[in-house]
């Protein structure tokens, strides 16, 4: 007879540890995506539906640059910068005219953007997934698996980007501008901060971060025009659980959700493991609608 204790004894410890590592790696990438999303929301009140598409475009531009030059790290830099510039342009064209209107209109506008970008990628690159080689081939032994170092590097690099961004917000002049705009945009404007350009800059930074995470993630699964949607959904969940506009909260939530999902996929298929994060979201909405880590206002 299977008692609950017996069920828990059956769980292999090594599998748990492997899934922990996997969960943390996925969580760091998700944190990178979600921090861009939550930043854009926190400052501009814009829910960026096109964030997943910026992630996807980052990966595709990487594919193109790798094909031309063969260097993954060059592609990483080029795609982040290109998408950041593209993000700035898109913000100026579509979101700037909407400043001061109902925040819901910005959801609709970014949704339109996501449609255009996704279909552009489908048209330009076709429906078949592109493969990207891992830039680091070394691996180490993790129980019975040979675990690629590249995954560990991704997690580290994501942490470095997020950390660097945090330092930028905290100490640089433009970081102070951004934080001032978050606190009170009217007052910030009165103090001479060019608020519309802060918006554009923030959108560009968020877009660049999305592209960077897309590029880092691309060797793990391949690049495809719909890859953004899964990520943006997960990032939405993370951002709601972490508290909208709360950077620290969404990083913690990203790792929490990814760990849960990777543990769940020990027992069910990965596509069903997503339901676990949906359930966490529902529970959060029921008991802490402002997010688990929201600071009381």
């Amino acid at each position: 007879m299977h008692t609950l204790a017996a069920v828990f004894q059956d769980i292999p410890v090594d599998l748990i540890l492997i899934q922990t590592v996997n969960g943390i790696v996925a969580g760091m990438i998700l944190a990178l995506v979600a921090s861009g999303l939550t930043l854009i929301f926190g400052i501009m009140d814009v829910v960026n539906f096109a964030h997943g598409e910026l992630f996807m475009l980052g990966a595709y531009i990487g594919v193109v640059v790798i094909a031309a030059t063969g260097s993954f790290w060059l592609a990483f830099v080029v795609s982040s910068l290109t998408v950041a510039i593209l993000g700035a342009a898109l913000q100026i064209i579509t979101l700037r005219p909407l400043i001061g209107r109902d925040p819901l209109t910005t959801i609709l506008a970014t949704f339109g953007l996501s449609l255009v970008l996704q279909n552009f990628a489908l048209w330009e690159f076709g429906p078949t997934a592109r493969k990207v080689g891992e830039p680091i081939n070394a691996s180490f032994q993790l129980f019975y698996l040979t675990y690629p170092w590249y995954r560990v590097v991704i997690a580290g690099l994501s942490a470095v980007i997020i950390g660097g961004f945090w330092l930028f917000l905290k100490y640089s002049k433009y970081g102070v501008w951004i934080r001032a705009t978050t606190q009170d945009r009217v007052m910030a404007q009165a103090m001479g901060i060019p608020v519309p350009w802060v918006y554009t800059g923030v959108f560009a930074i968020g877009a660049g971060m999305a592209a960077a995470s897309g590029m880092l993630f691309s060797p793990l699964v391949g690049v495809n025009h719909t890859m953004g949607l899964d990520w943006v959904l997960k990032a939405f969940i993370v951002v709601v659980i972490g508290g909208m506009g709360n950077l620290g909260g969404s990083i913690v939530a990203a790792i929490f959700i990814s760990l849960l999902e990777s543990y769940a996929s020990i027992w069910v298929s990965p596509s069903q493991a997503v339901i676990v994060s949906f359930v966490v979201l529902i529970l959060t909405l029921l008991f802490r609608p402002t997010g688990l880590f929201a600071t009381p206002k």
Binding site: F120, F278, L281
Partner: protein
């Protein structure tokens, strides 16, 4: 809301006829055109028109939330899909398949999940509501996509179209024309019911929630209950659209539960004009027509959503009231 007396600017009110007489004359003219349409149109376009009406019903159901209550739902695909799968289940498990049972089952399925979604999502407002409904619809998509033994998974369910039956009186096979009339009857009926709802005291409370939620609550209305009922009503009509789509095309597929359908619904609303009920139907027709046009002009492979997406963004920026926005006040009088 700014009180722009658009209706006074139009000569409509001064022609001697009362507002409601003009409305009913207009309604009858449009109905007459739609009734005659399948005789005039080639079979492809007749079917196209029927589908536009079904998409119109879906868009109209979502307008009750977007336009009248001020809640943008990105989860209407779930209600639509559940209506479709509910009908499919009833049609596959009853012999002979019964149309009315299919409608009942579809509505019951849609209502059940609408209650579930409404209970949780109405605790949140604005953007949070939009995201929550989106994520809920994805939950149902994942369940339907992976629960292969019941839903057929990726392949969906295929069934044959039930007969149109009224016990002891009629038992007729649907033709393209009678199917069109049936859909038209349901959509027109739904329009009249929805119009009645939006003009009822209940609908007035919904509109007051849209205009100022805090004040509506302060007056003493149980805002969340009203929102739950609004989401349920909206889900019910979306489910009805799903049933019709299933019966028209003789299949239920997981693609329709996917978030793209919800996105399209929102696009129909914005293009046609939110808060007008007829606008979203027009928007759905306009969207489908452009799509057909692009694929005819540039081939099937042409990514019609690129130009449509650009049109959509341009409309949000330059024409936020949509195609029928100018008639909004008049239509709601």
């Amino acid at each position: 809301m700014t009180a722009t007396p658009i209706d006074k600017a139009l000569p409509l009110g001064k022609s001697g006829l009362s507002h409601s007489a003009i409305f009913w004359i207009g309604f009858c003219v449009v109905m007459a055109v739609l009734i005659v349409a399948p005789f005039v149109l080639p079979i492809f376009w007749a079917k196209f028109l029927t589908e536009c009406l079904i998409w119109g019903l879906l868009a109209m159901s979502s307008d009750l939330l977007i336009g009248y209550t001020g809640m943008v739902s990105f989860g209407h695909s779930a209600f639509f899909g559940l209506g479709m799968y509910g009908a499919a289940g009833a049609l596959l498990h009853t012999h002979p398949p019964n149309l009315w049972l299919a409608i009942l089952a579809g509505l019951a399925a849609a209502a059940a999940i609408a209650l579930f979604v409404a209970y949780f999502s109405t605790r949140l407002r604005d953007i949070y509501f939009a995201i929550t409904t989106l994520i809920f619809s994805q939950i149902f998509y994942v369940i339907i996509f992976t629960w292969t033994s019941v839903t057929g998974g990726e392949n969906g369910l295929i069934f044959s179209r039930p007969h149109f039956t009224i016990p002891f009186i009629v038992d007729a096979r649907f033709t393209t024309t009678t199917m069109h009339w049936f859909v038209l009857t349901v959509v027109a009926g739904s329009y009249l019911i929805l119009r009645r709802i939006t003009q009822s005291p209940f609908g007035m409370v919904l509109q007051s929630i849209r205009e100022n939620e805090a004040r509506t609550r302060a007056i003493g209305y149980p805002v969340q209950t009203y929102k739950i009922v609004a989401v349920m009503l909206s889900g019910l009509f979306a489910g009805l659209a799903g049933v019709l789509y299933g019966v028209q095309n003789e299949f239920a597929a997981p693609d329709f539960v996917y978030f793209i359908t919800s996105g399209d619904t929102v696009i129909f609303n914005v293009i046609g004009g939110i808060g007008t009920l007829v606008g979203p139907i027009l928007g759905a027709g306009f969207f489908q027509l452009l799509r057909e046009l692009f694929s005819r002009l540039f081939g099937e492979e042409f990514p019609y959503l690129i130009p449509l997406g650009v049109v959509f963004i341009a409309m949000i920026i330059f024409l936020p009231q949509g195609l029928l926005g100018f008639a909004r006040r008049w239509l709601n009088k």
